[in-house]
């Protein structure tokens, strides 16, 4: 009889707090978004599943010596997983369009204002007493606006580990929502005539340029912002492996087996941060709202920067490619292309938008470096 009691008192049903039940539902929601709505499934499926595992009552999978906690400590606390993913992203990135039209780097710069506006917003909401974010919290939240999952996770693990779960979920969710968030803003801030601008054909870029660019970028980082060196170092390393053409077998493995393996464990480990007591806080709501704002402001600033550049430049650029400066590669570039086609069905902006798109990756890594330098 006693044993029956033990069994019962150990079942999840008996021990489940309302919070854990709610978090199981959140995990399910993420799985639904990933599987049915196809929202960044590569990350949201493991994150959602990790969230479910982390909230199974009394199983302790995300605590102590639980396996998800081990994945978290080994892979995220050390910084290894986001950096390895960033290396993989580098190996998948083509800087060609950026090199053909380097001034689009400025669009990637402007779009980072979303990050800092969000930081100001978070501190503002704290000032008027709605939330209680520290400056490090606010910085980590802001990086959501950078629209790069691994950058967000890396910064959050350094500056605000408690918020990591919510930040990662917001980051990947909004990246998936780019096709919904951006078009209205793009239509609002551009005229029909601007959207019809045809851009000059991009020149072909030599392999030599592609090989030297990542090294040059790293040198600039080394000289000016060492705190961005881990992120941009791994990113440029991945890119150099690809472009050098002499280590194809390493580059292939990086783009496939390695990035896939790390994605699985990164997702599960992030999910482990979606435990009820940490996630079911008013702050989470704030993060979700602020993250959305960050995306919107970043999009707007990219567009406006493009319009500003057109005032001073002879070769007009279509301002629609400005919104791609938030990164969310390659989704945002596709959105630029799509909205462009609505205005002129023969105007293909995809390649032009890839420039600011990868510039946005660099821009938010720089912004991340600044946050870590001042607050880390």
């Amino acid at each position: 009889m006693e044993q029956l009691n033990i069994l019962w008192s150990n079942t999840g049903l008996q021990q489940m707090a309302w919070g854990q039940g709610l978090m199981l539902a959140v995990g399910m929601l993420l799985l639904y978004l990933a599987i049915v709505k196809k929202f960044e499934p590569l990350l949201l499926l493991p994150i959602g599943f990790g969230a479910i595992l982390a909230n199974i009552p009394s199983a302790g999978i995300a605590e102590g010596s639980g396996i998800l906690h081990i994945f978290y400590v080994v892979g995220i606390e050390s910084g290894a997983f986001p950096l390895i993913i960033f290396m993989g992203v580098g190996a998948l990135t083509d800087f060609g369009p950026l090199l053909a039209n380097p001034k689009t780097l400025l669009l990637g710069a402007a779009a980072q204002f979303g990050i800092f506006a969000t930081l100001l917003g978070a501190i503002g909401l704290t000032a008027i007493g709605i939330f209680d974010f520290s400056l490090t919290d606010a910085a980590a939240i802001g990086i959501i606006g950078g629209a790069d999952g691994p950058t967000s996770i890396y910064v959050a693990s350094k500056l605000a580990p408690d918020l990591l779960g919510a930040i990662a979920v917001a980051s990947y969710s909004y990246m998936a929502l780019v096709p919904l968030i951006q078009p209205p803003i793009m239509r609002l801030l551009t005229t029909e005539k601007e959207r019809k601008i045809k851009m000059v054909q991009l020149r072909e870029v030599s392999q030599t340029e592609k090989v030297i660019f990542p090294i040059m970028l790293l040198m600039l980082v080394a000289l000016l912002l060492p705190d961005a060196a881990p992120l941009l170092g791994m990113f440029t390393f991945g890119n150099l492996m690809k472009e050098s053409g002499v280590v194809d077998r390493l580059s292939d493995t990086t783009q496939n087996a390695l990035i896939n393996i790390v994605t699985i464990f990164l997702g599960l480990a992030v999910g482990s941060k979606l435990m009820a007591d940490k996630f079911l806080q008013p702050e989470t709501l704030g993060i979700l709202v602020l993250g959305m704002v960050a995306f919107a402001i970043g999009t707007a600033c990219g567009l406006l920067m493009a319009k500003l550049m057109n005032i001073f430049s002879k070769n007009k650029i279509n301002p629609l490619i400005g919104s791609a400066g938030v990164s969310a590669v390659p989704m945002a570039a596709r959105v630029s292309n799509k909205v462009g086609l609505e205005a002129n069905p023969h105007n293909f902006l995809l390649m032009h938008a890839m420039g600011p798109n990868v510039a946005g990756v660099i821009g938010s890594a720089i912004a991340a470096g600044i946050m870590i330098q001042f607050l880390g």
């Binding site: 380097p102 780097l105 000032a127 040059m216 600044i370």
Partner: protein, 79 residues
């Protein structure tokens, strides 16, 4: 008082942060353009030379090596 300080710090961070992002990426624009120009010039000068030099020799060598290896394997198997 404290909240104002926080706001000031945040504004400072924003100001310097955005400034630095623009500074960095503007610098990158110039450095990139400079690199492309330099490489373009070097390429033009060296294209004719290179093509007639190292690469042909190398590919010949590779062809030879390939042939040798194939022969060796064939002989080994034919044993």
């Amino acid at each position: 008082m404290e909240q104002t300080d926080l706001m000031t710090e945040a504004l400072n961070l924003t100001f310097f942060g955005m400034g630095f992002v623009f500074l960095f990426l503007t610098l990158l624009v110039f450095v990139t353009k400079f690199m492309s120009i330099v490489i373009g010039k070097i390429k033009k000068n060296s294209i004719a030379v290179e093509k007639n030099h190292c690469c042909e020799a190398k590919s010949e060598l590779n062809e030879e090596t390939k042939f040798v290896i194939e022969q060796a394997i064939k002989m080994h198997r034919g044993a």
